[in-house]
Subunit: 130 residues, 2 copies
DNA sequence: ATCGCTGCGCTACAACTGTAGCATCTTCTT
DNA sequence: AAGAAGATGCTACAGTTGTAGCGCAGCGAT
């Protein structure tokens, strides 16, 4: 069950974002980027991270005795879901209309933008496929 | 403390939306529009509504022994805050860029759109004023 | 082999959220 | 005035989130 990214809390989303940006990080590394901003104790970062693993939003991988955390949801898919949700629930417009804005946004690769676009086009929510 | 609309839960947001749409409704009336969709018992709608009052997101007014609930945050201000949050936190773009999309969205009046625009322009988060 | 540093896994606890029942009070109707 | 129908305010309880400490284990230095 590929965890619905919309049910991540703000804290979790923030962590998700750093994981998206870096691919895979240890708890400490994650903490270095979100801890200060949030004023968290290292153990707090760990706990949140661990809960994300339980939710299936993040994968954990052991590397020489250290846990590395990897996003279980690719950024494009995550953004697509978030955009769709916001567009439909709040703006009440068709999600596809938001795509153009992505171009100016975070460092998304052409690839990713196209992917998000693909996911938002064809008004469907379900599992995609080639 | 004009409650930060970003801290409303999904359930609460849904109620907020119907209140924005109708201005002021009794618990039952609110329930009629969100209850079915959410499969809530009337008492659930009441509880959520009441919590929103406590949070200061909704005002309660007695009318012939019945409570009427009124949004404590005008729609334009609420949408502006939500848009700003989403734009900056998720899309990582300037909130103002989202304004054009509103035109096609929910039934916002020209007035409201202009207001949202005003609130999002001039990159500021704090309390506004003329 | 031992000591210390760092990471791990477990536990904790308060506040918030989802969800709702119930006893009681109001209001309308007859 | 009395009863029915509906609204109110209170209470409840489980699950989620925010926030963090603690004891134990592994690894590198001595």
């Amino acid at each position: 069950m590929t965890t619905d990214i919309r049910e991540l809390s703000r804290s979790e989303m923030e962590i998700m974002k750093v994981l998206w940006r870096h691919g895979r990080l240890s708890a400490r590394e994650v903490h270095e980027r979100v801890g200060p901003r949030r004023n968290w104790a290292l153990s707090t970062t760990r706990t949140v991270l661990e809960r994300m693993v339980q939710k299936g939003a993040v994968l954990r991988e052991r590397f020489h005795g250290v846990n590395l955390y990897i996003p279980a949801i690719p950024r494009a898919a995550g953004l697509a879901a978030l955009v769709r949700d916001f567009a439909e629930r709040v703006l009440e417009i068709d999600a596809a209309a938001v795509v153009p804005l992505l171009t100016r946004g975070a460092e998304l690769s052409e690839e990713e933008i196209r992917e998000v676009e693909r996911l938002l086009a064809r008004d469907g929510g379900g599992s995609d496929d080639a």
